[in-house]
Symmetry: C2
Subunit: 320 residues, 2 copies
């Protein structure tokens, strides 16, 4: 059997897996990122984690290559980190592909973590059968990836798809990117917590939960009145942003994953209603809003899929 | 010499031209759309205008085909109007390609009017040398088209690029699409007029001009204090939207045309400053904001270019 090593480098954890062509994980490993300890220790962790997976894989069969998804802007052709910002301090400029292939002598492919999720969803998950879809990862921040006519949207240096940084309120709070009222400030985990804190600041007794997104979502699902006021704001902002994505990309589906999406069916039902109102009917009737299918494993499965995509089509950028 | 007939069907006028491979117009004709008279009279105008251009072209040389850009959502493969809305009442569903080719027996290509402008700018105008750019047409409304890795963004039925319908203020006024605070409500001709009227409603003596975008822009360029307040709002909203496009598409350039762009260098200078503040520096430093190069002729030149694109590459969707 043929296997690929898939790695998903996030701000809080690094996941490793041995994955077969069917997207099934046969071995896995996870370590905390400890990003504050710097890029050197992260590279050490990356290399030793891959080493561990190589040993595991060789018990099963042949290793065909190593795929790595990383947070930040990635030059997917050279496999270099273009910009990682505060999520992974010191990671900007690291030539991941070169360092990993020097060590292991295998083919190595590197891409942005949300792009990799889009590849996974297209091949094995909720994106099967769609050539035009948008992936939104609602985590601590908001990441995006766009599949258009079966191709991943790249832009000039691979930076396309930063969908967390579209403005939904020019009079809203300042975002780290410099704009005001980016959707990341409303519908990410930290955005939900921010709205919660802001509303608690009003001093009303309605807001009894801790201002953390999981707590707020939990309270909302248990019909807490204050949490409902927060989530109305969240869904309204996200609905407005998604309506914009639909007019921009004319997709068949919006796939939503990440911790916030775990709010479940009620979240999707209310969001879909909000989007419907805000979108021209001839556009919205062609587009479904659905949960991503692969959950927390999407990153490693998609990273491994980089190897299959490349082997199968000879061209990393295209997926059929 | 070889020629193509180019037609640009807009909400107020229909332009016709005979165009050579170099994008030079050798003959032209223009009629008012009179959209309220319905689709039948518009088709009559279209056919008789093309007929006139065929006669003009045949004096010069051979006609290779007919290219038509139309307002609305166009199925560019079938050449049918998918949705034209209030701009061209009754135009939805019209099989333009079939009707025109039945009459003239030439190859006929039909596409959305702003897509056609993007083709023209890519081949002959401000888009030369760029594989990744966004076209914004700031007219009565706002139209958009996106060139990514040398390909026009299409989406599932060709509806992608409706960039006038991205929200910049979820608390803003309701837009015809159903969303609130779409950028079209701020930075189109009608949007500028709307803001002007709204500010005049405050009753201040500052606002002495007629609430029409040309008047407001003219007053602004002559240092009128009230017009400056309007244009500050316009540029702020447009800067926020463009920052979103840059994060979304990672383009090399934003090309801006249409009546509002005729405000000229001061408009572009202030807009660029606004965008810079609102965009991550690693994204904005790769992206220029520039005027479209072909002005009011971009539509007919781009429509004719549909013929050359198809002849040269065999595939309408790709432009090198």
């Amino acid at each position: 059997m043929e296997y690929a090593i898939g790695v998903d480098i996030g701000g809080t954890k690094v996941q490793f897996a041995v994955v077969n062509r069917q997207g099934e994980i046969v071995s896995r490993y996870l370590v905390p990122t400890e990003a504050d300890k710097g890029a050197g220790q992260l590279m050490d962790k990356l290399l030793s984690g891959i080493d561990r997976m190589m040993n595991a894989a060789q018990q099963h069969g042949e290793v065909c290559g190593i795929g790595i998804g990383s947070a930040g802007q990635i030059d997917y052709q050279e496999g270099v980190v273009l910009y990682a910002g505060d999520t992974l301090p010191g990671w900007t400029g690291v030539p991941i592909k070169q360092l990993v292939s020097n060590r292991f002598g295998h083919k190595v492919y590197v891409d942005n973590d949300v792009n990799v999720i889009a590849f996974a969803e297209k091949r094995y998950g909720a994106g099967i059968g769609y050539s035009n879809f948008v992936c939104l990862a609602l985590g601590t921040g908001i990441g995006g990836a766009v599949m258009e006519s079966g191709r991943l949207l790249r832009g000039v240096f691979g930076g396309a798809g930063e969908l967390g940084h579209v403005c939904v309120d020019v009079n809203g709070p300042r975002c780290s990117c410099g704009n005001n009222g980016c959707i990341e400030l409303y519908a990410s985990g930290s955005g939900i917590a921010r709205i919660g804190r802001e509303m608690q600041g009003n001093g009303s007794a309605l807001y009894s939960w801790k201002p953390h997104s999981r707590e707020i979502i939990h309270a909302w699902l248990h019909n807490d009145e204050g949490a409902a006021l927060v989530m109305t704001k969240v869904i309204r902002a996200l609905g407005a942003a998604i309506a914009g994505y639909i007019h921009t990309f004319n997709p068949e589906a919006i796939l939503i994953g990440g911790g916030v999406a775990e709010a479940g069916p009620r979240f999707f039902a209310e969001l879909e209603q909000e989007v419907d109102v805000r979108t021209s009917s001839y556009m919205s009737k062609c587009c479904r809003i659905i949960p991503a299918g692969l959950g927390v494993d999407a990153g490693v499965i998609g990273a491994a899929a980089l190897v299959w995509n490349h082997n199968d089509e000879g061209e990393l950028n295209y997926v059929i």
